[in-house]
Symmetry: D2
Subunit: 461 residues, 4 copies
Amino acid sequence: MAMNERTNGSGSFFDGVLDRTLGNLRAAWRDIAESARVYIGTGPRPDLPDNDADRLRAQMRACLEGTGGQVSARARAAELGRTYLALSPTGRERFLRLLAEEFDVDRVEVDEACARLSRAHEDNDRREAEQALRRALEPPHTRLLGQFNVLPEGVKFLVDLRAELMSLGRRDATFAALERDLKNLLASWFDIGFLELQRITWESPAALLEKLIAYEAVHTIRSWTDLKNRLEADRRCFAFFHPRMPHEPLIFVEVALVSGMATDVQKLLDEHAPLTDPGSADTAIFYSISNCQKGLAGISFGNFLIKRVVDQLASELPKLRNFATLSPIPGFRKWLDGRLGDGAEPRLGEILNTPGWHLDEALAKDAREPLSRLCARYLILEKGRPGRALDPVAHFHLSNGARVERLNWLGDTSPKGLQQSEGMMVNYLYKLADIEANHEAYTGEGRVAASPALRNLAAKA
Amino acid sequence: MAMNERTNGSGSFFDGVLDRTLGNLRAAWRDIAESARVYIGTGPRPDLPDNDADRLRAQMRACLEGTGGQVSARARAAELGRTYLALSPTGRERFLRLLAEEFDVDRVEVDEACARLSRAHEDNDRREAEQALRRALEPPHTRLLGQFNVLPEGVKFLVDLRAELMSLGRRDATFAALERDLKNLLASWFDIGFLELQRITWESPAALLEKLIAYEAVHTIRSWTDLKNRLEADRRCFAFFHPRMPHEPLIFVEVALVSGMATDVQKLLDEHAPLTDPGSADTAIFYSISNCQKGLAGISFGNFLIKRVVDQLASELPKLRNFATLSPIPGFRKWLDGRLGDGAEPRLGEILNTPGWHLDEALAKDAREPLSRLCARYLILEKGRPGRALDPVAHFHLSNGARVERLNWLGDTSPKGLQQSEGMMVNYLYKLADIEANHEAYTGEGRVAASPALRNLAAKA
Amino acid sequence: MAMNERTNGSGSFFDGVLDRTLGNLRAAWRDIAESARVYIGTGPRPDLPDNDADRLRAQMRACLEGTGGQVSARARAAELGRTYLALSPTGRERFLRLLAEEFDVDRVEVDEACARLSRAHEDNDRREAEQALRRALEPPHTRLLGQFNVLPEGVKFLVDLRAELMSLGRRDATFAALERDLKNLLASWFDIGFLELQRITWESPAALLEKLIAYEAVHTIRSWTDLKNRLEADRRCFAFFHPRMPHEPLIFVEVALVSGMATDVQKLLDEHAPLTDPGSADTAIFYSISNCQKGLAGISFGNFLIKRVVDQLASELPKLRNFATLSPIPGFRKWLDGRLGDGAEPRLGEILNTPGWHLDEALAKDAREPLSRLCARYLILEKGRPGRALDPVAHFHLSNGARVERLNWLGDTSPKGLQQSEGMMVNYLYKLADIEANHEAYTGEGRVAASPALRNLAAKA
Amino acid sequence: MAMNERTNGSGSFFDGVLDRTLGNLRAAWRDIAESARVYIGTGPRPDLPDNDADRLRAQMRACLEGTGGQVSARARAAELGRTYLALSPTGRERFLRLLAEEFDVDRVEVDEACARLSRAHEDNDRREAEQALRRALEPPHTRLLGQFNVLPEGVKFLVDLRAELMSLGRRDATFAALERDLKNLLASWFDIGFLELQRITWESPAALLEKLIAYEAVHTIRSWTDLKNRLEADRRCFAFFHPRMPHEPLIFVEVALVSGMATDVQKLLDEHAPLTDPGSADTAIFYSISNCQKGLAGISFGNFLIKRVVDQLASELPKLRNFATLSPIPGFRKWLDGRLGDGAEPRLGEILNTPGWHLDEALAKDAREPLSRLCARYLILEKGRPGRALDPVAHFHLSNGARVERLNWLGDTSPKGLQQSEGMMVNYLYKLADIEANHEAYTGEGRVAASPALRNLAAKA
């Protein structure tokens, strides 16, 4: 049984929580209550049969009513959480359905509160009626979920629970509502004001670095040696953490300190490249940014992370002049295939269909101009939803106030790079003085900021 | 001007925030924006004249609308916060009025959302209408206040802001509503699951210990020597902290490790008493518990604190058998005066009117029985609001599940002790096995748990 | 050039110091003086030509004489150290020769001090003469070496310098004397009272764990996954550190918490074995102990490490009853080959010459008795130097007071295990009550403590 | 009995060790062995009667011979240390006498080693004879003392032991030799390379700040408020610590960050003076430097401390231009009294004999010129031992390479300031470029560096 193997992969998914809790954390054996411990190694996890459901329902009610005092209620909530962790997938789904269906808002109460509001005319009455309505609209299951944060890793528990609800919610709207309520709760707890920026280095705990390897979503970390290279003296890595989830990065960014704009990600990741003096670098290249927690989807940290890292680097390394990304263009190939399928640029289509074309100097030379032109167009002119760049990475940086700065021919010749964008990469430039104006222009009128060279190139396509 | 003196008292009040920010914190000079710094030493703080109010209103709006992107909006919120800190009392009141009146919920929007809800019949429509109504009921000023937590000490800022609103709200209901909304926000942020229990010792930072001196509300800490004595090897002090307010205790408790039930607080506080070996103590006496943050009034931590400290002491010191308080009886004298005024116990009344009666053996002997009897009655039988002990300290411990255990004759002969309870003190006993039942009996039926001896005594009165 | 590659192996050898200093340490770029930095990437390191030697000699003299004040003298010593680091192997040898030959004790001075001593008769004269003689006997090069500890990693510098001197000393006695003096200095600095015991876990810095992989000398750590397994909840790893070498373990031990005596190291190292509850283990098995610093050879920590770890485990896990090792027998095969070569046990010799004999049940069965018997004899009866067990690992544990407890047939079937001891392993038992007596019997009379069963077996051989 | 009072003064003296060990340290109760604990509260400490002395002698011998193995020997040394701590003053003196007299070098062995050396002619023989002689000259008591560092606070133990030996040594040379050996040991352990510079702030542990109050030797710290003022944003305090004595400062310096040279120490210490922005200060004034450990007398840290603090301040606060002291002139009054007694400057003598003369404008005006002139002469021209300034503070700063910069008329009008130097203070200037040359000139030829103005003034006297 997977949970009993000694060294399973890093805990990016929900099931990992139990394993980890049981497994290698400092205080694990001390903190786990009897109820959870009995399942270790004793066979299959239970499915939550009906009479157990009755017991659960009663426990949930007792938590909400505070029976035995607040302290006891919290202890009971913790026990509920541990029960949940020990259930089989079927058992968990039943647990959540019970929560979603039987602890939702009381519609009669809501309607009455609405009616009371419509009768309130004096200022004070009105205020009180609003308060009452607000209370009636707060679903008990959300209050109950909130109480789970007294578990040893309660916040992580809820984050992973939301990931589970997101997946259940795709086929059953009952869960979608619960999931949305949980999202609101998490959005309040994960407000940027509560997050801590930490630099990650080769001196960081292996248990944390192992998670970077698991969570890296842009350029796969192939080995501990690859990772070490990304943490050398001329590299930086920063992540946001929540004080109650100190061992779990929320999002992290990898930065290279270089001279001049970086154009080739394979060079940046080369473990045999010489080290350079970070103090003499003039450019910080953000070459990878990865979200780590599925359960925090839709709660945005990336813009704050980039801003905070820019500030920190600027104060640490006064010679830095430019802050830019070296970014993939994940949607380019798909869009291009559509264009080529329509018969545009037949010669280009022919070349790209030749395996290994990028290694053939003559073919590559012929492809370069039309491919660059189309890529510029794709990034700067093509829209997805109204006012929004078609490419998702472009959309992210443009709404943060960056501009499309430069295309990098064969900037990523890894299989993934060729597959998603025919090897093209792009630099987005963060020019501090222009960020606000760029953002306003983009979010207001959908105007994309771009360097004159790229704008001209796009216009030709 | 007070803020410029070098060593003002510890920052327990709101005005202290600015001084402290300006004053002695590590990063202070780096973190303070220009807008705040100009006021240092340049004379009176501004009152927020009308044209400034226009500017403020526009800034608040920009924060809420996210103009220039989320990052810029937060920077602007931080600036608003600093502006607030630099205002005169009049200026601050104007600032808060503006926030309370112009950024409240939009009643038209609320009414429309109510109407929509009443028309929604299908499950999904209903859910969406509920969501919309919930959003409409969330006042913009609360969202804006929440954004202030990006200030360097943003959480403390909001806690102190609530204290200020509480004081304003007493004379103007406009502020009361804003204060209540802020309380809800703080109650969510200060959920017990986010708090950290820390032991405080003589090795703790002086800056923190200085706050204990300022915040101690039961038995005044007279000097650093007195404080040191309360942190010796046979004493314990624990406090709750919030991760984003790491230098500010929320509540703290002082414990003495003794053999047998402690009966006399002057003995406990005696700086010249011999040290005892904590490892051989059988009883932990909680002799003082103080809330530290006015702005967290009504958000309760005390019950959790006692429970957590009991757990921690029990695991550290396995010889501990009893957990009890040595508590003041703050309302006894007032209640007693009423009784004596009605002519009950004339001899007792006479004695108590004799200055220094407790030092006169004969008088004290005569007073002992009737005073003890009345005190037992006061604690066990007298009610304030229905089902609630009249004495506030009794109410706190009884609702935590403790029982009234023993009266201590002349247990506190300090002027304050004589003044509030004729020197009587009381032990509340926390017996782990009975806590839940005691709590339920008390909160459900108002039944007070007490030792048989005291119950008999009370019955005689 | 190796030093410029981005991710070279962990710094177990001397050359690593410069790379690491230049490489990935926090403060590296700030701390390195100009003199060292110029060599980065600019080609070959210098050999220390003659005129440089003159300059060096003068610098060394200035350090010893304290020219310019103590502070300046130390700055100059640091510069000398950096010069040394930047030299080629030839340059370094010249540097050390200069130090060894020209800054040795002044024999004339020593002889004079001896003469003075012989003339001193009064108590005070005698004492002063002894002091003077002691001073005369302290070689200037040792004083100079001691000054190098102001370098950013000065203590590690000297430890690695000694390793270098040990290697040079093997062919040239000039260096041997300097090495011996340095050993005395290091023995004083690395007194057990200065060392800190730390537990190493998967939460430890990757930079530290990487060193465990490099330094493990008994059972090679094959991968980060193997390492993680050795740090799981039912394993322990402890190391000694010096406060001025906080990133460098001196010696570390790996422990498995099991039920009953462990007999098979492959089982202990199996990454897929189930986790067990350390709280219910009754036996702590020390299965690997490795010294990390060549330059500390001959300065012994192992006995203290085992004792401290036993104490710590006993207090953390009260169910532990037995403390034992699972140890290799590195010298057995060599001794056995001698015996078999002499014609003893011809059948056994034949079997052992059959490749894969241990996988053939019949052959293994035949080999078991004679091999075990000879192994018992080897461990218990065979002597190297007088009074000293022939096997080095046996000698280490016996002089610590352990006893030879049990042989483990095919306890290590790795190629190394078969190669050095035909798969045999042994448990040494640390019985706290017997340690002193065992030690005295062994060091005094060379008497080896052993279990009765093993003693009988050995007697038969 | 004093040791049992709850809050005795901070432990600057030797007796404090036991109290503190018994008292308020974290791990105290766990770490203290039975042998020491029995004395708590059971009456007088023993005097070490004769039969106990026999037992001690045997124990000491066993430690030195390593009976039972190194680990046991160290445990026995720790026990010896605890025995010592529990003795009465008489008992301690006997203990130390035993150590000094019976564990000194063996003179016969030394003489034989000398003889062997005189016979050694070949290089190798000579080297070995030197080694043997060195070993013979190492007194066993020093080796034994060194073993005490395994006590929980072993290093502090030895430091305080030396203080005790210094005091005993003043009346008995037996102890003086032991004291000198211990000094050598401590000098090696407290080498500057092992010390850590730490900034001390109001955030530092109260237990540490309490020691500053006790150890401040120049300008008494009158209260915790006075102390807090010295740690404000425009002040700095730094201390050296040893890693094995982390709670005990060795030496500390107090610095004020000001604009222009500070001339008046009462102004610097004024708790009501306004705070200034440290970032705009151009001058760092070192106004107090205090040694903390009597037992480290003669082992010098002050010069390193000043240098390291200058470096750190210069890198933190780039606007700082000048580093200077504001220093007392402790020997001026005594020297002046001699001069005036000889009849020089009768008018000045008359004024200084007038109580409160410095408050009388006319008198002060008359005194100013002659007093300043004589003071300049005292500082710059008067010698104590050959080549050494008569004033001890002057000697300290001059040998560090500072120069006498400016006299401050009525710079310290505290009773102590008037008493020791008629209110005069002096600034010593540390000009980085001149420090080496100043030091060489002073230590070589006794030449005192001084500003031209002061030199002229001194010449007139």
